[in-house]
Symmetry: D2
């Protein structure tokens, strides 16, 4: 059988001067950046769902993509064709990782057992493809939001029988992730939230959710899965409100339920902006709270109020994100998963490549900018100078709790002098960043 | 000296048929609602800053209000005239509480000590007015955001000397709140955040903030202040990002620093909507997390991206907010503070009354709606039915942690049956609420 | 064959005291309001697409509704079952009008001709149902956005062959609307816009769109269709930008192309808010520009950035909208079409009724409020007083163009007096409106 | 008297390798780009208001800047000091143009005549500075929004006496612009809108506004001012709604009142984004409608709902804006006015330079990117290919109006073939743009 991607050559690094749109101009896997291979910093993953499952459907129109694995055979046969096409794509692109939901790779069956068996069979198929190609699994996950049974949530469903059905899917997806050598496991709760408070007990649902996570943590340890558990924050969509609103909210939930040492966050750029934050804010917050796990790399549209999941392409913005990741010591077991899809009008096989190539090259350039930001040292020096007062004996005594409010208040009255503010130098610092964005 | 409000009669409850715009048509302080006086449910407060300090200035124009206490005398004389006018207003309106920042009531002096002394003197004046009129203080607070010294934050300032200056103000404001019988003390951190991450150490600033709060908690207990400490969440404005983004974020911060039993939240309607939440969401979340403290009652404009602080007037929306407050057992030491201002074009003395009367009547009507929602019982019955499965032995066993993920997964495979979803009945429930909004 | 709605009795007006959720408590079709029947003011229509075609699918999940006309037979058989169910619903509900897209009522065929013939056949079926039931058609329209051929627009497609395919659909839909006695014809251009300017010639596409509308206008007159042509503004979704952004934009486009006497607007509440306007703003603007045509009645969610198409339920907000409609002299051939859908979790047959009943009752109450706003007269009197200066000889001379800029400037210098501003009285006016919202 | 900016050397082009933050690294005035000097493409202007009048005040705090011309002398003396400082800044920076409001340069007096005379005197002073330094005036304007008399609008005020007071200011500002050789005159209507429809007659106010503009047009011609009249769109802030919402709205207003040949638009980046559009959308729309006039160059913050007026710094975004300007044939008499301010914490004299240098360098780099986009030709070729069908005889016949709707519909039925859609190639085109963003 001929490949859907047969006209696409393997994508190679060809240097910045390349005029071949099907080459990398910046992503040079083996290039050393701050002492590590570019590939090891970026750990790119391709996602199964957007590139191989989505038909181009949107709320106002049907599918536009006509992939040969969408119809024309029995569901399991199509699932195998899809896997064949996906790994063919992965190999030609040359990204080292991929990610999937259980239902992306295997069809829902007529009964829970049939779904379970479909999935087990496809995990075998994926394992063979991994062996053959050397592709690795960045993370696995379970789709607990598409089927109508989950319309009112999975772990937070008002009906415990739905909670149990979700438990089966997560158990199987964790088993599969372990078996396929996955390095993380992600939970995204698109329906773990509410449409209206009128039919919702928030406190009860949060308790259910915490219980579910405790079950997952316990199971992970029992089976010896050493990867990282990740929650992916998103404020809304599909639900009116999702409990995992943003990084700070997830942290509070984890801390309340004693889970903050067990679970980290998978931050998505477009989810960050939908929650009213910049992408780098979410990264810096997760780093400060010790729960930075992995990244869903994409971009939103600043004029649109929903998750557009576009490929990232703004290098100055990406550089700030990567700077904060590098400052935090990198992503550990995490990576950059392109939770991104080509536009609905980009119906050609080549478009899938253009999207990923553009994203990988933009991230590679941004990594090089971030490297300069760090090696140059001026940004860090400006911060050190700005906070220098806290390094003084007095500053340390305050932070260390050796002085009371009354001590401080009385001291001010005694000295009776004001303190002049100092420029924040924002424009200077922004210019410096822009300077690093240049070649 | 004649009163600025001399043409305004004391505002009385005159019944729903009243055509006098300077009367209450619904706010009947002594009417019993669910067994308590309306006044004791609502605990209305008037804020000093919007009604007596704001000149009508906005970012594109100067003051429009020409109050006699704005200019024409020495600052302390004007402060006394302002206090006179404020209590005159309070008395005519008949709301039982007020709230203030230190700098609302006393002018900044040339030195820290002069500011301190100005404030102490004015606290005496306020005390006398309280005694004379019977007005009570719902809460006090310190303004740590208007003076240029706080341009980069107060507790989170990069310079510890600013932290110390803030400590003096908070110490004095806590002392004053205690002395004036205040029932709560509020911290709003308008500048506790950042303009750009490029000049900000988020982790360090959060630690500073936690230290500051620990100092405040310790001092509160030391002086015997038994009121509630409250943080007021707001996502942004004036800062690009504020650390107290919303209720869930504040909870996570408090939990991380062992402060979640000491500090609650003061939820503002307009801050809720700016953070991407409904007002009732923030209330329900705070209730679920056990940190519901008090309310800044106002409304925003759904088309505007800043804090418009308008008087509340949409009864169906207010009813949902009050329903969640009643469900949570009320506000305890908290109340409904009108953090609301008349529009910049509403320059007449009477406009200040129309704003407050409209707000109080709208809240009174909403309280009566919420009472019906509760006494009718159908809303709660629908919830009980929806979650009934969790009351079963199986549901309780799951929630109680007696079953593992594997237990649940295996049970599903064994029974091998799916569970059909049940209607969420949102439209029916919304119609029911609307039914209660009618007379 | 038993009816899907067999358990639902015909919905009757039962008065405000009714506790039957399947009755109208306020919508009393024959009640006179300002001298006209309530039904003749409101002219309610039910839309075909949301209630009978939508499966509950959203971008993150499949269908949740399991209607008997969704599958299990040939497409044309299902189309007939759907029509049967729709008219059954219409009859039980008692709204006088309905609306449809061509593809709602008849399936796309394998060729343009087959689609054309399917549609003609179903128009016969609809005609028979109309005859049998007395239902009337408020407006017809063509779906030029769901099929993949329209992914880059219909009239504004870069390929003129798509423009021609669109012409066929609109011709047929106009013919059908005429034949079924439709009172208006609507054009909504969900794909008439762009995803990226990089592949778009804005000027060219606007010219294509204008040409298309001229063809439609010419055809309308040729066939003797005397109903109103309407454009429905929406700023975005599905497109990143839609040319019919809002009422003012549509007006400018119509004026530029000489179409402003031929085409009016169909204003949707949720589209108004997505474009950054209040619903009443769009109505007042259309009225001021002379292009107010009809209303798509629904509501959005202020926290969500997409078209949620919920049933309207906030009476104070609806009252302002209806007030502006009444002030503009009503909607003429237009009406209130519920472009609204029950939530995805509202899967029962009864939920469709609760949605519509709640919407109709809320509009009925709002109409009664608007009636009071008008008959009371105080709102209009306040406006007359506010603008009285423009009625003076001087005001009229200025407006009439009898004075130049220099005349006015010189006069000011000569008199050399300033003018004091006057209170806008917003809070007083808002309280007045709230007063009318009460019984 | 020593200069406030005495420590700042004149800013020179020093090349991309310069590490001097007080030099241009890209803005090389005489470098040829597409055959014109860089300076002649960009025509940079510095605005008077943000850099010399704003004190750092925001809605939550007082001034932070302590400029020597803010206090300590009589208003007219301070105005002269301010002018001295401004021109000192202009000279050191080396931008060729500046812009001002009447009230920026001269203080409001006690009477209209005194204000008028203050302004005339300061226009003399500005003229002398221009002569001395060679600085040119890009545009003048009148401030009709800051004084309390304009709180309810200027041209759209309910009181015609305010309209007359506005006429004086505009007459004087037009005279001054002519006298100072200004190349454009701008009208920004921050208060020409409403706070609530309850106290507003939209139709009447739009008629007033049109009358005002007709007076201005007539006066412009009478005095022989050959510069361009410009309206600056903004959707809201300070008003709840402003009539000049966006470019398309302004076009419709101008067309309705026969002003579309007399007035163009001054597009501000941050106003574009506040209105729900991208900056390049507004430029492309104005170009398509023939009303592209000038640019207020700045950037907003995507997380903030108000006008932050930051200096532009994102080169890829600016490149798209400049590409559309170049495609439209440039700005004619317009230019790039930095309607931008340093952050409130940027209190040093040097910060004013960093802001402008960063903005000028970013625009210069973006211009070079746009040049590459044009000279490369691939972007335009892709467009030509995409729309090629419209160049065919059939396409031209459709556009030319030679075929009716029925002709097109019948032809489709006769051929009875569908048309397959073609990829929009968005990712490929975006990658191409990113390729041009590199050195």
């Amino acid at each position: 059988m001929s490949s859907y991607f047969q006209d696409i050559p393997p994508i190679r690094f060809a240097g910045a001067a390349s005029e071949d749109p099907l080459s990398f101009r910046h992503y040079d896997a083996d290039r050393l950046v701050l002492g590590r291979r570019m590939a090891d910093h970026l750990r790119f993953a391709v996602c199964y769902w957007h590139s191989f499952c989505w038909t181009g459907l949107d709320p106002f129109g049907g599918g536009t993509f006509e992939r040969p694995w969408f119809e024309g055979a029995a569901p399991m046969v199509l699932a195998e064709r899809k896997a064949q096409a996906a790994f063919d794509f992965f190999e030609r692109l040359g990204a080292p990782y991929y990610c999937f939901h259980d239902r992306d790779v295997a069809p829902e069956g007529a009964t829970p057992r049939e779904s379970h068996e479909n999935f087990l069979r496809m995990v075998d198929v994926l394992g063979e493809h991994q062996q053959r190609t050397g592709m690795k699994l960045l993370w696995g996950t379970a789709n607990l939001f598409s089927h109508r049974r989950f319309m009112s949530g999975a772990a937070t469903n008002p009906d415990p029988r739905i909670f149990e059905l979700a438990a089966l899917q997560v158990r199987d997806a964790l088993d599969a992730t372990l078996r396929l050598g996955g390095e993380n496991y992600v939970l995204w709760g698109g329906r773990e939230g509410y449409e209206t408070l009128l039919n919702t007990r928030v406190g009860q649902e949060l308790d259910q959710f915490a219980r579910f996570l405790h079950l997952v943590v316990e199971y992970k340890h029992r089976i010896g899965f050493t990867g990282t558990l990740l929650i992916e924050p998103k404020p809304r969509e599909p639900s009116k409100h999702q409990y995992d609103f943003d990084t700070a909210t997830v942290y509070g939930f984890l801390a309340r339920h004693g889970l903050d040492k067990e679970i980290k966050v998978n931050i998505e750029a477009n989810h960050a902006t939908l929650s009213g934050h910049s992408f780098e804010h979410e990264i810096a917050t997760a780093a400060a709270l010790g729960i930075l796990g992995s990244i869903d790399m994409n971009r939103g549209d600043p004029q649109l109020g929903w998750d557009t999941d576009q490929f990232p392409n703004n290098v100055p913005e990406l550089a700030l994100a990567l700077y904060h990741i590098l400052q935090a010591g990198g992503l550990g077991t995490g990576g950059l998963n392109f939770d991104a899809k080509v536009r609905r009008q980009s119906i050609d096989a080549a478009d899938l490549f253009h999207g990923h190539i553009g994203g990988m090259d933009a991230c590679a350039r941004a990594l090089l900018v971030a490297e300069k930001m760090i090696t140059d040292g001026r940004l860090q020096a400006a911060l050190a100078q700005r906070y220098a007062g806290w390094d003084s004996a007095r500053g340390q005594a305050i932070l260390g709790g050796q002085l009371t409010l009354a001590d401080l208040a009385d001291a001010v009255l005694q000295h009776n002098t004001d303190t002049a503010p100092v420029s924040g130098r924002q424009e200077y610092l922004e210019n410096l960043v822009n300077r690093f964005c240049e070649p």
